[in-house]
C-alpha cells in the first residue's frame, strides 16, 4: 500500500494541521482512499469551512419557507398544495477549461438538485460573467458557454427563461457561470436526503461511473503508482438525454412511498452523497464498491468514490420496494443497483471484494470537518467625489448611444434565441423583461423569476452592494406584478485566505442579510464559490441573487413594453443624481472610483409595495425598474422593446441633466399609466406618501427629451441590437 507523505497530502488540498486532525479523528493514519474522502469532504466546496460562520447570519425563515438552506434546494409555499423548489449553483472553473461542457454540466447539476426533492423543473436561469470583450479568450468562452447552457436545457426540455450576461476585465482569467433551476412540487410530496432506519437498501441509479473530474488526488496516485500511465483529470461531459431519463424515472418512483431518502451525486459524487445521507440521519452506511456500475475497466475504489460523473443518484429505499423501483429504472434504460445498506455503525464502510478498504466515522467527515473564522478587513468608504465640472462635457445623446451599444447593455436576443424558452407551454413572459413569468401548470397562478448581480457596486462598497442586489432583484420581481417571496444566492468571490477578500465576503453578506430581513425576502438556498481568480488577482466580489415571486392571478401579465401612445409616464422614487459607480461614468470616462448608490430600505419597501398594489389593481399598463444606466436607459429599453417613443420634460430643479438622466439612485420604477387612471394612481401614491414625478408621455416613433434630443426609436433599436453581430 502506498504511503501517505506530505506531497500527497498537499495534492489533496489539505494542510498539515488538517492532516493531523484526520489522524486524531481516526486514531491512525488514513490510507489513500480515506485521504481522498477526507479531501473531498473537507474542501471548501463541501464543507463551507470559510463561509459557514458568515452564512449563519442570513435570514432563512419566514411564513413562506418550507425548507431553508441545508437541503439540495430550498422550498417555498405558494399556496394551495403547491411548492416551489429552487437553487442556484456555480460552475465557474470547469466552464473556463471547457466552456460548452462546463456550462452544460452546470445546468445538469442544478437540475438534479431540484428534481431530487420531488419537483418537476419548470424553469432555468443563468448568470454569466465574462472578461473584457477584447480579451482573446472571451469570444470563444462566450459562445461555448451559451451553447452549452442551451444544449443541455433544450435537450432535456426545460425552458431557459431569464438570466444576465456581463463583461468586465476582472473575469479575464476566471469567468463565472451560475445556473439556477426552479421546480414545482406538491407540498406534501417533498423528498429529503435524511436517511432513516437500519439495513435499508442503498441504491445507485443513473449513468455509469467513469474517471470524470477526479482531481489533484489522482495526480498524486499517478506519481506514486509506478505502472500507471499519467492520469489527468477528465473533463465531465454532460448527457442531457440520460438526465431526462433520470428525471422521469425519479419522478415516477416518487409517486408512491418507496423512497426514504434521495441525494444526487454532485461534487465528490458517491462520497458526499452517501456521507450526507448518513450524516443527516445519524446513521452509518456500508457500500460494496464492486457493485458500482463502471464505464471504464479496472476502476479503483478510490476512483469510484471520487468520480464526478454526471447524471447519477443515490436512493435509500423502503424495505421490499427494490423490485418495484428496479422496474421503473429499467423502463427508462438506466442502471439500478443495490450497492449497500444503512447501518448503525455511524461509519462509512467501503468494501471491495468483501474486504474493507476504508472506514471513517461519518462525524469526522461532517460535523467535525474544519470551520475557519478567517481574518477579514473592512472596506473604507471612498473619499473620491465625482466632479462633473472637471470632466469633459458630453452630449446626452452621445452618452445614451454609447451605453446602449456597449456589450453590457446591448440587447441579448442573440443569446436568448438559442434557448428554448417556450417548451412546457407555460412561459407567459420570456427573457427580455425584468423577470420571466412561468405559469403553474393548469392553474391561474404564476411565478416570476430573475437573477441579478452588481459586481462594481459590491467591489467599491460591499455592504451597499450586497443590499443593492437584493433590492434590485426584488424590484425586478415586482416590475412584472409579482409578490417577492424568497431568494437563492450564489456567492462568487476570490481567495478567502486573503483578508481583504474575506472582508468583501463578510460585508456583502451583511448587506444581503440586512436587505433580506427588511424586505422579508429570506434566503432558502445557495452556493459559495471561492478561489475565483489567479495569481493573487481576485475577481470582483460577485454575489448573484436569484429571486422568486408569486402572481396570484395571471389574467393580465405585465411587462416593460409600452402599450400605446399618449399614456402618462410616472417615475416612482426620488432622483438625486448619484453617478458614483454608474454606467455613465464608466462608459464615458472609464472612472472606477467612487461609492455606489446607497439604498434606503424603508423607501425600497414602500415604493415596491405601492407599485405592486397599483399593478394588482390593473392601473398600470407597463412597468420597469430603473437600474444600471439610470432613467434614460430604462426609458429607452421600454421604447425599444415596444417600438413606441416618449416625450420627456427636462427636470425642473436638478442642476445637472446628466445626473438626472443617468444617475443610478435606487428604489425607482417607471410606470406607464393610461390618462384616465391618472387621478386614481396619484391619489393612491399621495395617500401613502410615495414620492413620484410625472415625467412625460409616450408617443409614436420618437424618443425625445424636450429641447434636448430627439431620436428615431428604430435607430435606438438598431444601436442596441448590433454589438454582437459586429463582434
Amino acid at each position: 500500500m502506498m504511503r501517505i507523505n506530505s506531497k500527497i497530502i498537499e495534492k489533496h488540498g489539505l494542510n498539515e494541521e488538517e492532516y493531523k486532525n484526520i489522524q486524531k479523528l481516526l486514531n491512525r493514519n488514513p490510507n489513500l482512499l480515506e485521504l481522498g474522502i477526507f479531501s473531498a469532504m473537507w474542501n471548501e466546496h463541501c464543507s463551507y469551512k470559510s463561509s459557514k460562520i458568515h452564512l449563519k447570519k442570513l435570514p432563512t425563515k419566514g411564513k413562506q419557507v418550507i425548507q431553508g438552506p441545508g437541503e439540495n434546494a430550498g422550498v417555498i409555499d405558494i399556496g394551495d398544495d403547491d411548492a416551489i423548489v429552487f437553487k442556484i449553483e456555480s460552475h465557474n472553473h470547469p466552464s473556463y477549461i471547457e466552456p460548452y461542457q462546463g456550462a452544460a454540466t452546470g445546468v445538469g447539476g442544478i437540475l438534479r438538485d431540484v428534481f431530487t426533492m420531488g419537483a418537476r423543473p419548470i424553469a432555468l436561469l443563468n448568470s454569466i460573467h465574462f472578461g473584457s470583450p477584447s480579451h482573446h479568450k472571451t469570444k470563444s468562452l462566450l459562445n461555448g458557454v451559451v451553447s452549452g447552457i442551451g444544449g443541455y436545457g433544450n435537450c432535456i426540455g426545460i425552458p431557459t427563461v431569464a438570466g444576465e450576461t456581463k463583461f468586465n476585465a476582472t473575469y479575464n482569467e476566471n469567468i463565472l457561470v451560475n445556473a439556477m433551476a426552479v421546480g414545482h412540487a406538491k407540498k406534501n410530496k417533498i423528498f429529503y436526503s435524511k436517511a432513516k432506519g437500519i439495513n435499508k437498501s442503498v441504491v445507485y441509479v443513473g449513468s455509469k461511473t467513469g474517471r470524470d473530474g477526479i482531481h489533484g488526488a489522482s495526480m498524486a496516485s499517478a506519481e506514486f503508482d509506478e505502472n500507471s500511465e499519467e492520469k489527468k483529470p477528465t473533463v465531465q461531459v454532460g448527457d442531457p438525454f440520460t438526465e431526462k431519463l433520470l428525471l422521469e424515472a425519479c419522478l415516477e418512483l416518487m409517486r408512491d412511498d418507496s423512497i426514504i431518502a434521495i441525494q444526487d451525486m454532485g461534487a465528490a459524487g458517491l462520497t458526499s452523497s452517501s456521507v450526507e445521507m448518513a450524516s443527516k440521519g445519524s446513521l452509518g452506511i456500508e457500500l460494496e464498491l464492486d457493485k458500482v456500475p463502471c464505464r471504464e475497466e479496472n476502476m479503483t475504489p478510490y476512483e469510484m468514490m471520487l468520480s464526478e460523473s454526471q447524471e447519477r443518484m443515490l436512493i435509500i429505499l423502503e424495505d421490499g420496494k427494490e423490485d418495484h423501483a428496479r422496474k421503473i429504472f429499467k423502463k427508462w434504460d438506466l442502471d439500478f443497483v443495490v450497492i449497500g445498506k444503512t447501518t448503525n455503525s455511524k461509519n462509512i464502510t467501503l468494501k471491495y471484494n468483501n474486504k474493507i478498504e476504508g472506514e471513517i466515522p461519518i462525524e469526522a467527515l461532517s460535523s467535525k470537518a474544519p470551520i475557519y473564522e478567517r481574518k477579514w478587513t473592512k472596506k473604507p468608504i471612498s473619499k473620491n467625489q465625482i466632479d462633473l465640472k472637471k470632466l469633459k462635457k458630453i452630449e446626452i445623446e452621445d452618452s445614451l448611444i454609447k451605453i446602449l451599444s456597449s456589450p453590457n447593455h446591448s440587447n441579448k436576443n442573440w443569446i436568448t434565441n438559442q434557448y428554448d424558452q417556450m417548451v412546457m407551454c407555460d412561459t407567459a413572459q420570456r427573457s427580455g423583461s425584468d423577470a420571466a413569468i412561468i405559469r403553474i401548470h393548469n392553474k391561474d397562478k404564476a411565478i416570476a423569476v430573475s437573477v441579478d448581480s452588481s459586481a462594481n457596486y459590491c467591489k467599491s462598497f460591499p455592504i451597499s452592494g450586497g443590499k443593492q442586489i437584493v433590492c434590485e432583484n426584488w424590484r425586478n420581481i415586482i416590475s412584472v406584478g409579482a409578490k417577492p417571496l424568497a431568494i437563492t444566492n450564489c456567492l462568487n468571490f476570490g481567495n478567502p485566505e486573503n483578508s481583504q477578500i474575506m472582508g468583501e465576503f463578510a460585508e456583502c453578506l451583511q448587506g444581503i442579510s440586512e436587505a433580506c430581513k427588511f424586505l422579508d425576502y429570506p434566503v432558502v438556498s445557495g452556493n459559495v464559490s471561492f478561489y475565483n481568480g489567479t495569481n493573487k488577482k481576485n475577481i470582483y466580489p460577485t454575489p448573484v441573487i436569484g429571486g422568486v415571486g408569486l402572481i396570484q392571478n395571471l389574467s393580465n401579465p405585465i411587462n416593460h413594453l409600452f402599450k400605446k401612445d399618449n399614456s402618462i409616464i410616472i417615475l416612482v422614487g426620488k432622483t438625486f443624481g448619484h453617478l458614483g459607480q454608474s454606467c455613465f461614468i464608466k462608459e464615458n470616462y472609464s472612472i472606477n472610483e467612487g461609492n455606489p448608490p446607497e439604498v434606503n430600505l424603508k423607501n425600497e419597501r414602500e415604493n415596491g409595495e405601492n407599485v405592486l398594489s397599483l399593478i394588482q389593481k390593473n392601473l398600470v399598463l407597463s412597468a420597469h425598474d430603473v437600474s444600471s444606466g439610470g432613467l434614460l436607459v430604462s426609458l429607452s429599453e421600454m421604447s425599444i422593446a415596444s417600438n413606441l417613443g416618449v416625450k420627456i420634460q427636462k427636470p425642473k430643479k436638478l442642476t445637472n441633466i446628466n445626473e438626472y438622466f443617468f444617475g443610478e439612485d435606487q428604489s425607482r420604477y417607471l410606470l406607464e399609466i393610461s390618462a384616465d387612471h391618472l387621478t386614481r394612481v396619484e391619489k393612491n401614491l399621495k395617500e401613502n406618501n410615495i414620492f413620484y414625478e410625472l415625467i412625460g408621455k409616450t408617443q409614436k416613433k420618437y424618443f425625445e427629451i424636450e429641447d434636448e434630443m430627439k431620436l428615431d426609436v428604430n435607430y435606438l433599436s438598431k444601436i442596441n441590437n448590433q454589438w454582437y453581430y459586429n463582434y
Binding site: E98, S207, D212, V235, V237, G238, D239, F241, S309
Partner: protein
C-alpha cells in the same frame, strides 16, 4: 493536396453519442458488436504542393478550430 482528419473523444471521456448508438444497434440484433465510438471526420483540400507544409497547415486548422483538444484527439492522413 487532400487530407482526412478523424477526431474522436479521448479515452475515459464520456461518449453519450456512442452509448446510445451502441444500445440501439444491440437492440437491432447486432449482438457481436463489442464497442462503437462516434467522432468527427473532415476531408480537407489545400492549395499547397509541399506535403510537410500542407500537413502543418491542416494541423494548425485542427488545433485552432476543428478539434477540442481538452476532450478530443485527432489523426491526420494524406489521401
Amino acid at each position: 493536396m487532400k487530407f482526412s482528419v478523424t477526431v474522436i473523444l479521448k479515452k475515459d471521456v464520456l461518449d453519450p453519442q456512442g452509448k446510445v448508438v451502441q444500445n440501439t444497434l444491440m437492440n437491432l440484433g447486432m449482438d457481436n458488436l463489442k464497442s462503437i465510438r462516434q467522432g468527427k471526420f473532415f476531408e480537407i483540400e489545400i492549395d499547397e504542393k509541399n506535403q510537410d507544409i500542407a500537413q502543418q497547415k491542416v494541423d494548425e486548422m485542427c488545433k485552432k478550430l476543428l478539434v477540442n483538444l481538452i476532450i478530443e484527439e485527432y489523426k491526420i492522413s494524406k489521401i
